[in-house]
Amino acid sequence: MYTEKVMDHFSNPRNVGEIENANGVGEVGNASCGDIMKIFLKVEDNIIKDVKFKTFGCGAAIATSSMVTELAIGKTLEEALVLTNQAVAEALDGLPPAKMHCSNLAADALHEAIKDYQAKNS
């Protein structure tokens, strides 16, 4: 049911973990719906220098978390803010219809983390 890209990101997720002194943290989802995604950012000069994630969720949730971190790294905050959930799913060659709501979390978590950074630094 999952594409090869999904299985790759799921079985070898990139950027798992926490950033010790992250300057932006975003969390979305909740345990009752079975998805929790947490994104940690290291922003320098308006650029995402480092990003890590922790996720409680299904295969799609983990793969989209991994993919969103890959897509975000090196981007400016403005670029990262226009990254859509759709784009994440496409970068994974698509998700099964039943799993589209998982992809709805990954970009959201990233945006939350950026907003957290912006709130702290404004």
Binding site: G34, K54, C58, A61
Partner: protein, 388 residues
Amino acid sequence: MKQIYLDNNATTTVKPEVLEAMLPYFREQFGNPSSVHWAGRMVSGAIEKAREQVAQLLNCSSAEVVFVSCGSEGDNFAIKGTAEALRHKGNHIITTTVEHPAVLETCEYLEKNGFEVTYLPVDKDGMLDLADLEAAISDQTILISVMWANNETGNLFPINEIGEIARRHKVRFHTDAVQAIGKVPVDVQAAKVDLLVLSGHKIGAPKGVGALYLRRGTRMTRFMHGGHQERNRRAGTHNVPGIVGLGVACELARLNQEKDYAYVRRLRDKLEQGILSTVPDVKLNGHPNPDLRLPNTLNVSFNFIEGESLLLFFDMKGIAASSGSACTSGSLEPSHVMKAMGVDIVLAHSSVRFSFSADNTEEEVDYILAELPPIVQRLREMSPLYQR
């Protein structure tokens, strides 16, 4: 790669003896058993032999066995057929919160059509309170439907006692025995059930065939209308190879069940004890007394990890298990069984079911016990809920 199949409550492989018995009925003996000519006569005896084999396993008369297309059809037939036939007597049905969707959704459908349904709760071990059950019976009650064994936890319900209560109150009793057949002894006389459902593909017969035990004299409205097959009880051309296969699978179950129970029980207990003693933060789901569960079923929650991701990592090691987590079916809800047992929401999402057959081996259990802890550890390290 190794392939270790521990999802026998979802479906089983067809047994070699079963497939062999079926094969002649696809091309050589392909007739319609309702036909009078040679092609029909060749197969009508095969249907009756299979009916006898099913009846022997259940300890009933072969005239009480109706062949259907699957467990779900059996449950729909039993419940809707009773509801319609007994509508003049009352509109109340009693069932439990932990039934299979084939029962639950059928009851919910009937609720939209003027029936009242009591869904009995279960305790934290997934067990019913028989006093609750008896108290729920009113003069409107026309049916009690309680599964023999739960598919997720393996919990065995006290069917004999429920049969006693139902008989005492003169209420019809249906049991979904899809998971019990071939795993524990099932005797419709001892259990005093009026309707019992079984499904072929859970016991080494093929998918697409099942049976309904219909106690003599039980008035039912038909579910499948049409031709006069099955003594006018179920329309549709007989699935001859499937029925022949179901018969042989029932015969094999009858002959081997005692040996098989003990064998799978030993493997299941070994896996259960191994996981509980080596993996931290694990919770057993279902009754703690293994005698009160199917001998082949183990359901455990690996805290902090969502079930599907665990299954996918197991799968990379060739281990096929299943998850109570409904994530797999695209709903956000965790298993209704875990919910009914009051299992904490994260633990409900992190439950995994291992279900054995007699084809499994002790080496497979050893392999799982070796592979499992690092997978759990790795996924926990990805989890925002886990603190070392």
